[in-house]
Amino acid sequence: MTRLLALLLFCLLPSVVIAQVRTEDKPSDDPVVEERLAKLSQELRCLQCQNQTLADSPSDIAADLRREIREQIKAGKTDKEIVAFLTQRYGDFILYRPRVMPTTYLLWFGPFLLLIVGLIMLFRYVKQRRDAITEKPLTAEERRRAEEMLRP
């Protein structure tokens, strides 16, 4: 019981101790800015909680990045420039859709390669089976040998 209580208290701890300076995550009044932010942030990874996008992460660093993106949109930066700003600092890992480049060729084209290999194997298998079950008439030589064997 005391253990459970201690655990519960421990869960409360962060809310008491952690007093980070929270970033104000205020949506902009301009719906165009918010729309662009929504679109962009769905393509970007939150680096602290790596399986969430910047759009749905509640972490503070995500709020920082959203603030930065809002400011850059307002400053008239293109999506491309904003993504370049972020990858310069955080690397390509921030992109949910990896860039097509030599190190990611296998990632992008590997599945198609596997598909082609699979198709080739399938065709070969089907052909082999078909060859095995189709009736082939005997050649004259084979007929002669068979008759020879069957002669009483």
Binding site: Q48, I61, Y90
Partner: protein
């Protein structure tokens, strides 16, 4: 032959999974490695009327340690920093990241100050320029102002002797 193909496939899979296990998904390669350390000018924690700029450290090998009073891991790292700066004779500059001033001051008051100074990054903007996504993070910067190493998480004595110390000594010779 019949058993060979599944066996080979299994071994290949095993190989890749084994590699996957040895890697920490939280450790990302820094995009800033071997790039110039971003410049900034920020007020100092102890003397708010004074500022600090990364340029001030030109000609020195130094470390930038991102810390905050709300960061649990930083508390673990803190005592080590005294040893590191002493043993290698390297100045450590703190980047007090998104921290309340009074919290930061009482943390230093309680645990001591291993830093030559701490710069105050209240809004986390300088942190963003350095690609910080969680504290503690530590950067090793050479005399020319280039980032030579970055470590995310606590710089344990093991990390220090294996990664930092040899590099610090090498950079100091240059």
């Amino acid at each position: 032959m019949r058993y060979l193909i599944p066996l080979v496939l299994f071994l290949v899979m095993l190989f890749f999974l084994a590699i996957g296990l040895t890697r920490d998904p939280n450790k990302l390669p820094s995009a800033l490695l071997d790039k110039p350390a971003p410049t900034f000018r920020l007020p100092q924690l102890m003397n708010p009327e004074k500022t600090f700029s990364a340029e001030d450290m030109r000609g020195k090998v130094w470390m930038l340690n991102v810390w905050a009073s709300w960061c649990f891991e930083c508390r673990k790292e803190h005592p080590y920093l005294f040893q590191y700066s002493k043993s290698a004779g390297i100045p450590i500059v703190g980047l007090n990241y998104k921290d309340k001033r009074e919290d930061a001051l009482s943390w230093i008051g309680e645990l001591g100050d291993p830093y030559v100074l701490s710069a105050v990054d209240l809004e986390g903007r300088v942190g963003m320029d350095y690609g910080v996504y969680g504290a503690p993070e530590t950067y090793l910067i050479d005399k020319g102002g280039t980032i030579r190493y970055k470590h995310v998480g606590v710089v344990t004595p093991e990390v220090w002797t294996k990664e930092f110390l040899p590099l610090v000594q090498e950079l100091n010779r240059q």
